[in-house]
């Protein structure tokens, strides 16, 4: 199986002072793998995730995602890469003045799909995340768990190659968290999508085989 993500001697710095967060990290993630990245607060988990979707450029080393070296990729190529990614945030990052349906189909809208396909996909995705009757509601009318399910539906909209999730259940109760984990397991199993989740704690109900990396003292280590 080919590597979807490959980091070699990766160093990430953050802020104006160029504070080193990750130093000389080496790891690879294959297609279809489910990966957890854990570590204490401030260890650089979210920074690594930002680097994986190109929000932060590596200061040293290489970070290759979907065949593109993010240290040297052009803005246009980066935009193209992001259209093949599904990104889930702890604070959902939904557009509050858009309906749930419009939020879900955002990746399709960016890719230029016509409205008929967008409608069909929105119905299918909202049914998949068990929110079929919420299409015309607005995010602020939904509970946190429901908003995150909309976030997952949006991440799945274009059958992404990679799903990156930053503390996806951080603000949710146990029931909502379990629903989210189920959805992500399904995406990994059924669509062969690589899923990379940054979290404080690995869920106990998790049934899929997974890999676990921990960030400690600026290094990224695999836990066996």
């Amino acid at each position: 199986m080919s590597n979807v993500i490959h980091a070699s001697h990766l160093t990430l710095t953050y802020g104006n002072e160029g504070k080193e967060v990750i130093k000389d990290a080496n790891f690879s993630i294959k297609k279809g793998e489910f990966v957890f990245i854990t570590g204490p607060s401030g260890s650089g988990k979210s920074t690594l995730l930002k680097a994986l979707y190109g929000k932060l450029r590596p200061s040293e080393g290489n970070l290759v995602v979907g065949g593109l070296d993010l240290a040297h990729v052009s803005q246009r190529k980066l935009q193209e890469l992001r259209t093949h990614m599904g990104i889930i945030f702890q604070d959902y990052k939904l557009v509050n003045e858009w309906t749930v349906k419009k939020n879900v189909v955002l990746p399709l809208m960016i890719a230029g799909y016509d409205s008929e396909i967008q409608d069909t996909q929105a119905r299918r995705l909202l049914k998949h995340v068990k929110l079929p009757e919420y299409a015309d509601k607005y995010p602020l009318e939904l509970s946190g768990g429901e908003q995150q399910r909309v976030g997952v539906a949006r991440a799945l909209a274009k059958n992404p190659v990679v799903i990156l999730a930053d503390e996806p259940t951080g603000n949710l109760d146990d029931y909502s968290s379990n629903v989210i984990w189920d959805l992500m397991e399904n995406a990994c199993q059924q669509l062969d999508t690589t899923v990379l989740v940054v979290t404080h704690k690995i869920p106990t109900i998790f049934s899929l085989p997974y890999r676990h990396f921990i960030i400690e003292s600026k290094g990224v280590y695999e836990v066996h």
Binding site: Q79, T83, M85, L94, W98, P107, I110
Partner: protein, 271 residues
């Protein structure tokens, strides 16, 4: 209320720029006739040893547009009154040739001096007489009015452009959330900024229509009833249909400049 205020904060500075542009267009048109009169009323006198034609003068300086020969016979007939015919023939033979030279445009006095030098460089030309004083004072007054108007318009445009950009930044902040989310999911800059363009284009069209309406009213209602001679005489120059195109083009250009300035001033929306 906030919605109206937000749009007025964009429309008013844009209208100030458009009013400046339209004032300039009107000023250019109304003063064009005056400028033409000054240009046409101005001649240089050239005194040459041998006859010369227009092309010969133009070869020396391209700004010469007409060369009107002054009949020497009429000069001699005035000078040689009471003198025998043979003597007057001798005077005529000894007289140089005189030409009134017209110019192709309204030129600065320094350019006139250059034309004089160019013409005098020809050995066949004995003398060039420019009538500088009245021309110079007219030209200076005219140039001064034009300069002041241009400075005022440019100053107003710069201040207004800053206000427009400021308002655009407020809009960008208001739409920050959606632009940020769109960026994360790979939306290109044009798509992300689409909302700014959309709002700004609507306001640009609105501003153009308002300014056009003001000048339309001035031309067809106010000017005719004002009783001011210069207004009545120049009523036609006050507003032309083609001005709507110029104003719309300018406002769209301003919108594009403002949106790109705001969007590129901080690449990407900070999370």
């Amino acid at each position: 209320m906030k919605f109206i205020k937000n749009h007025l904060m964009f429309i008013l500075p844009l209208m100030a720029i458009l009013l400046g542009i339209e004032f300039y267009l009107v000023f250019e048109r109304t003063t064009d006739t005056y400028e033409k009169g000054l240009k046409e009323g101005y001649f240089m006198l050239a005194v040459t040893k041998k006859p010369m034609d227009l092309s010969a003068f133009q070869a020396l300086n391209e700004h010469i547009s007409t060369a009107e020969k002054i009949k020497r016979e009429s000069i001699v007939s005035e000078v040689a009154k009471g003198i025998s015919r043979s003597s007057s023939k001798e005077i005529l033979a000894a007289l140089p040739y005189f030409y009134n030279l017209g110019l192709d445009s309204y030129l600065h006095t320094s350019r006139l001096e250059q034309i004089k030098k160019d013409l005098e460089s020809d050995a066949n030309i004995k003398q060039i007489e420019t009538f500088g004083s009245s021309y110079q004072s007219n030209y200076r007054l005219f140039s001064f009015i034009k300069f002041v108007l241009k400075i005022f318009i440019v100053f107003m445009a710069v201040v207004s452009l800053f206000l427009i950009i400021k308002q655009m930044e407020i809009w960008k902040y208001a739409h920050k959330e959606r632009m940020q989310v769109m960026e994360i999911f790979g939306a290109p800059l044009m798509l992300r900024s689409g909302v700014l363009f959309k709002v700004a284009f609507v306001d640009a069209i609105f501003s153009t229509l308002l300014v056009s309406a003001i000048f339309f009213y001035t031309k067809f209602y106010w000017a005719a009833q004002s009783g001011i001679d210069i207004m009545v005489q120049n009523q036609e120059a006050l507003f032309k249909v083609s001005d709507i195109g110029i104003l719309l083009g300018s406002s769209i250009l301003i919108v594009i400049i403002a949106v790109y300035t705001v969007v590129f001033s901080s690449k990407g929306v900070q999370e």
